[in-house]
Subunit: 413 residues, 2 copies
């Protein structure tokens, strides 16, 4: 049988535009450094080193003999455990207001599709969690970033800045609180201001609160669920990943009191049949995790933050406001191009057999050219490793600036 | 501070259009029947009752103390196990041609986004797996169904039927082989015909092969991976759900030799960070599952199919061609409206304390009005339960037609 062959099909424009992980380009360089015998301290990743509570892992022994589908919206037991969790925070959420999702990622995806048509727009603060680009890409949503300043600890710019990017296609305000990548914990006043902005302009507020427990110096994260008169526009994206150091199980939830949003998300969930079952089993152990676990994790991360904040603050030309939450921050370095610096750290630098890997911040900005002198640093290493990393960064910055010369920014005198 | 409140935001049109599970409407009726003490035989669900192999479940004992992110494309061990699996089928696929996904569902979603822009079209045979509607809805893809006939065992219509729905926006041919819901196993000739059609018109072929092992009477499912000169347009969607009766773990893969499609899917995968980790651990046990497991499962399902085919074939007015694979088939019943009949079975009928639940086939058609006299039946119950179900259906059909009267189709004389 003879057939004429057409040209091979090409992948879609939206697929071609899908961004690669900003770290990925550096991975081969890190692998090569390790192959040369250089120890690499990873300040680039958000995978906590804390153990998943044993009372959660032990639930796996109770797995059924048939690893069957669970209900699309989650097992009644998992959903009930979510209700209990939110009740302790002071929020009453029933099973019709909670939906189990495959990580916070899927909750965000469902929320975006529920709130927008392709071509609609979302306002958010930049720098922002880089994977928002991927979800927005899938949903066909244009992100309209408003720049926050490192000098302000990346707290919210005034309303006028948000008004300036508002268009007739704006449907969503996307807030990450506490913030990845900046570690900013927005004050109650700021969250209320965002809520009022959304109400004034008829926007949904998608509030990504997966770092809720990671707040320091006695702070409390303000959930968008606490906003008065906000039932019809608040959607909270949540996850067990960081809370219980269980990133790999891929379990989260979408919490909303808007029944139409819940219904839409549930129908999307039915399409993909069910969230991971073993993860929901593990999650049931969370009810046995006492408050001392969260307090211990908080204390540990606060100590790590202190080590980095104090250490980095002593390096000439480095600037960061004191991080308030999550386990990331964005620091300004005295270099012109942190993409180059991050690659150089892995390819050309080592000191006493070691180097550090950092995430160039440009990947966390949507506006081209921003973040070129910033890096995102994660503190999921132990205190000794963090101290060693600070020392390495200090030596590296000096040597890099000597090698790269005049092109580099000068430290303030 | 006074603020003017805008109207509350509304969910998107695409969210409103997202279809609910066609079974869902019947669920409250089934629950009510059970509450009345009526036993309900579920011929509506695709959850196998076969145990997940112990050698897979036992891997959970090896879970790490930190349930950490895995690589976005899957752990090297899981990806290697996929290579080994495909090698046994005669297909050489390396780690750059395999991507771990959260069930076959996510593989299908990634494939659709990789191949299409919003507004593009996909050709497929109807009746089809109802959740394709959900994924197409998210991707903004219009499904262009071509009707297959029960008299032909739902085998492919001639090429002319596909040519008739081809438009300049057609990008994809979506094939489910073996087919859910019809149980059709397309012949090698049919798969080659689809391949040639795609090559002739420059289309991607997305081949959903999650029921590959579920083939009866000595049949072998023809994978699209076996098509010659097809590396640039074939994308296989696969899953461990049915193969190892592990639906709840949510693990599958996307297999393609087109590097651009793989790259696009990997970048989407990076956005959602990683596939479920515990599932990938369980999957490693699959290498210890011997061929006798698959042979045993095949024999069991073939026996079940025989019980249903023979039993239903004896009921006046019921028609079905002998199902060839998967564990579903679509049967024609002598009633005018199977949506009404399925509801009546749960609400108004019982015989010796029991009834059956079936899925009306209208939900598996995109063309309005089709499938009104058909049901999808799944055979994931044991043989005794299936025999009881056949008896119940026979009694029910007679009683229903007496009650509903002349409106019903007459059995052929």
């Amino acid at each position: 049988m003879s057939t004429t062959a057409a040209a091979a099909p090409r992948v879609s424009e939206r697929a071609r535009k899908m961004p690669a992980s900003p770290i990925r380009r550096l991975m081969p360089l890190a692998d090569a450094a390790k192959a040369r015998g250089v120890h690499v301290y990873h300040l680039n990743i958000g995978q906590p080193d804390i153990e998943t509570p044993a009372c959660m892992r032990e639930k796996l022994a109770k797995a059924e003999r048939v690893l069957a589908y669970s209900p699309s919206g989650g097992t009644p037991e998992y959903v009930a455990s979510l209700s209990t969790y939110y009740a302790k925070l002071g929020f009453t959420l029933g099973p019709d207001q909670l939906l189990a999702t495959t990580g916070g990622s899927e909750a965000l995806l469902f929320a975006l599709f529920a709130c927008t048509e392709a071509g609609d727009e979302a306002i958010l603060v930049e720098p922002f969690y880089t994977n928002y680009n991927s979800f927005a890409g899938l949903a066909g949503v244009t992100l309209r970033p408003v720049k926050a300043r490192g000098e302000d600890g990346f707290h919210l710019p005034p309303d006028a800045a948000f008004e300036a990017v508002l268009t007739p296609r704006t449907r969503v305000f996307l807030l990450c609180n506490p913030s990845n990548p900046t570690g900013t914990v927005y004050t109650r006043e700021e969250v209320e201001r965002v809520g009022a902005f959304c109400r004034r302009h008829g926007l949904f507020l998608i509030s990504d609160e997966v770092y809720r427990e990671f707040v320091y110096d006695g702070r409390v994260a303000t959930s968008a669920l606490s906003l008065p008169d906000s039932d019809d526009f608040v959607i909270v994206v949540d996850s067990l990943s960081k809370r219980y150091s269980a990133c790999g199980i891929r379990l989260g939830c979408l919490a909303t009191r808007n029944p139409d949003v819940h219904s839409a998300a549930l129908r999307m969930a039915q399409g993909r049949l069910s969230p991971p079952g073993l993860a929901q089993l593990v999650a049931l152990g969370a009810s046995e995790v006492g408050p001392e676990y969260v307090a211990g994790v908080q204390a540990e991360y606060q100590k790590r933050r202190d080590v980095l904040f104090e250490g980095l603050g002593r390096i000439p030309g480095v600037f960061l406001a004191k991080p308030e939450g999550a386990f990331y921050f964005v620091a300004r370095l005295p270099v012109a191009d942190t993409d180059d610096f991050a690659a150089w750290l892995l390819s050309d630098f080592s000191h006493e057999g070691a180097t550090v890997m950092v995430a160039p911040a440009s990947g966390f900005y949507a506006t081209p050219g921003l973040g070129k002198d910033e890096v995102r640093i994660a503190y999921v290493l132990n205190v000794d490793d963090l101290r060693a990393s600070v020392k390495l960064l200090e030596v590296a910055l000096q040597r890099y600036r000597e090698q790269r010369g005049r092109g580099q920014a000068q430290p303030p005198v």
